[in-house]
């Protein structure tokens, strides 16, 4: 491994867009803010920009830490930094919080100009297509005509794919990791369980809980617990927790008996303390709706015909939420179009979460791929 470091202390910026954005649903956002961070320097040719798209619970805070908060490490800090596979000495890297988010970009917690109150459940549905359209406006603002690469994992990978379809001339390379060209019924089912958990929480108040000064903590916690189970593999969970007991014996009570219960509750509580339930609802719907082949009678290859980018696709052997089969579907549809694509099917024990880890083989492949991008 070559020496690699952190991008150091970073701070987010906010871009305001006064021009209305018509969303895929037909709704119009009159104006909006996008919060973003950048790492590295845009070169004189402006050809070294890389957009990193976040997944369901991610944010614009991809790398580095905030001043005075050493634990506030970005969600893909192991990938992005000087000397790291996505090397900020070479690339100008951008992370942006998507529309409908809860980390500063316009979303359900923002004030609806029509009512003067938080949007809440009235915030319009946002899709992967809408997110990419908004990201393109941010690229305009930053003077980036064409990205060297757009990359993302999971829901972020769907955005990277959408970039190549919506703006074929604005993205030279796309990395689509642990993603799928559309969700399966099982995936949508898990999302629906998560949504019902939130919506059936008495504190949800039809999505207008802000006005009541409460948060549907239990629903959000439950949603995250379900999600978390699907992000881990059976093996990883077995290895980490097995049937380990909290008290070393069976207590015959409803409190934590098995360590896995404790872990899930902890993860759920932690998530519910900082994430917005309406954003979670919107993001799961964006996942469900994404299906570029929908307008092509399900013919994915036909849907991808307009793409021009060079692709990298990766999947993980134990990822059952976005299984290797789903990535292969995408790969073969790209090949049918004669597009350049490399595909890595990585051995991993960590399930869907693998895409956030720094497995040596995974990072070696990514490093090689990023190294091959000319700037």
């Amino acid at each position: 491994m070559t020496s690699s470091g952190s991008v150091g202390v970073v701070s987010p910026q906010t871009a305001h867009f006064a021009e209305p954005l018509t969303l895929k649903s037909g709704a119009v956002l009159p104006a909006y803010d996008l919060v973003y961070e950048t790492y590295g320097t845009l070169n004189a040719q402006r050809n070294n920009a890389v957009l990193v798209c976040h997944a369901l619970s991610g944010s614009h805070h991809v790398a580095g830490t905030y001043a005075g908060k050493p634990k506030s490490v970005g969600w893909w800090d192991n990938l992005v930094g000087p000397g790291k596979p996505l090397d900020t000495n070479k690339f100008f890297v951008i992370g942006v919080n998507n529309l409908g988010g809860c980390f500063g970009s316009t979303g359900p917690t923002s004030i609806n100009p029509a009512t003067g109150k938080p949007w809440g459940a009235d915030f319009p549905f946002v899709t992967v297509e809408d997110w990419v359209a908004a990201q393109a406006r941010l690229a305009d603002l930053l003077g980036i005509e064409r990205f060297a690469a757009v990359v993302g994992g999971s829901l972020g990978g769907m955005q990277a794919l959408q970039w190549t379809l919506a703006f074929p001339d604005r993205v030279r390379h796309a990395a689509i990791i642990a993603a799928a060209p559309k969700l399966s019924a099982q995936n949508i089912a898990f999302n629906e369980v998560a949504r019902q958990a939130i919506k059936s929480d008495p504190q949800f108040h039809g999505g207008h809980y802000y006005e009541h000064g409460v948060v549907p903590v239990n629903g959000l916690k439950l949603a995250r617990m379900v999600g978390h189970i699907t992000y881990l593999s059976d093996d990883a969970m077995g290895e980490k927790f097995g049937r380990k007991l909290r008290h070393g014996e069976h207590k015959y009570h409803w409190d934590v008996e098995f360590e896995i219960e404790s872990y899930l509750r902890y993860q759920g509580d932690k998530f519910a303390s900082y994430f917005d339930a309406n954003t979670y609802l919107l993001a799961t719907k964006a996942l469900d709706y994404f299906d570029p082949a929908f307008d092509y009678d399900g013919d994915l290859a036909a849907a991808l015909a307009r793409a021009k980018a060079d692709f990298f696709v990766a999947s993980f052997s134990t990822d059952w939420r976005f299984s290797p089969e789903r990535s292969r579907e995408l790969v073969f549809a790209l090949i049918q179009n004669g597009l350049k694509v490399s595909y890595a099917e990585l051995e991993s024990t960590a399930g869907h979460d693998s895409f956030l880890l720094d497995d040596p083989q995974y990072h070696a492949v990514l490093r090689a791929w990023f190294d091959g991008i000319g700037v």
Binding site: R328, F332, V341, Y343, A344, E345, G372
Partner: protein, 193 residues
């Protein structure tokens, strides 16, 4: 073993701009060579993780999929050429892979070490399994699972209705014109249905 002489034969057999699928593409050097000399558009299939990285470093499209599972995800006639360079002897399902190569490709290019090479025969006569430049492994540590001669392969082609369009045979890196099954250590074929 993958020295330039067999690359050059394959380069003669493909046309500029052809689409090529290379099964068991290693570090991608054949595809890189064909790209640089013939302007082909190619994809390699490789299961080994380190070689996948090497392919990406060589700027070659590589697909990390298991060949033994077949080429079912590829469409009929999707490529001008499907190549399997010095790997056929390491594949269990020989007939299936040949059928698949000629389904997915208009033509197939296959090369393999000739078990009938005189030095190999000599080794057997001396009572030992051959170890040579083309068969460099000890019997207990070989990735090869099928051992066959030029005559065996041509009989299989005949039996399966596979047309041999061209053959090139070599003794190490020197072309062999006659008595290939005895004198050649390696053979290359251009095949079609």
């Amino acid at each position: 073993m993958s020295t330039r002489f067999d690359f050059e034969v394959i380069a003669r057999w493909v046309q500029p701009g052809d689409t090529v699928l290379d099964l068991g593409c290693g570090d991608g050097s054949l595809l890189a060579f064909l790209r640089d000399t013939r302007g082909i558009k190619g994809y390699g299939v490789e299961a080994d993780p380190k070689r996948v990285v090497a392919c990406i470093r060589n700027g070659v499209n590589v697909l990390q999929i298991d060949l033994e599972k077949g080429l079912t995800d590829f469409n009929d006639g999707q490529f001008d050429h499907v190549i399997m360079s010095l790997s056929l002897q390491a594949v269990h399902h020989t007939e299936k892979i040949l059928d698949e190569m000629l389904r997915v490709g208009r033509e197939a290019v296959v090369s393999f070490p000739n078990f009938g090479y005189w030095k190999h025969r000599q080794a057997i006569l001396n009572g030992r399994m051959p170890v040579s430049e083309t068969l460099p492994y000890e019997w207990y540590d070989t990735p090869n699972v099928r051992f066959f001669t030029i005559a065996d392969f041509e009989a299989l082609c005949e039996q399966r209705g596979i047309r041999i369009l061209e053959r090139a045979a070599f003794d190490e890196d020197k072309p062999v014109a006659e008595e290939a099954n005895f004198l050649a250590s390696m053979a290359m074929y251009r095949l079609a249905r």
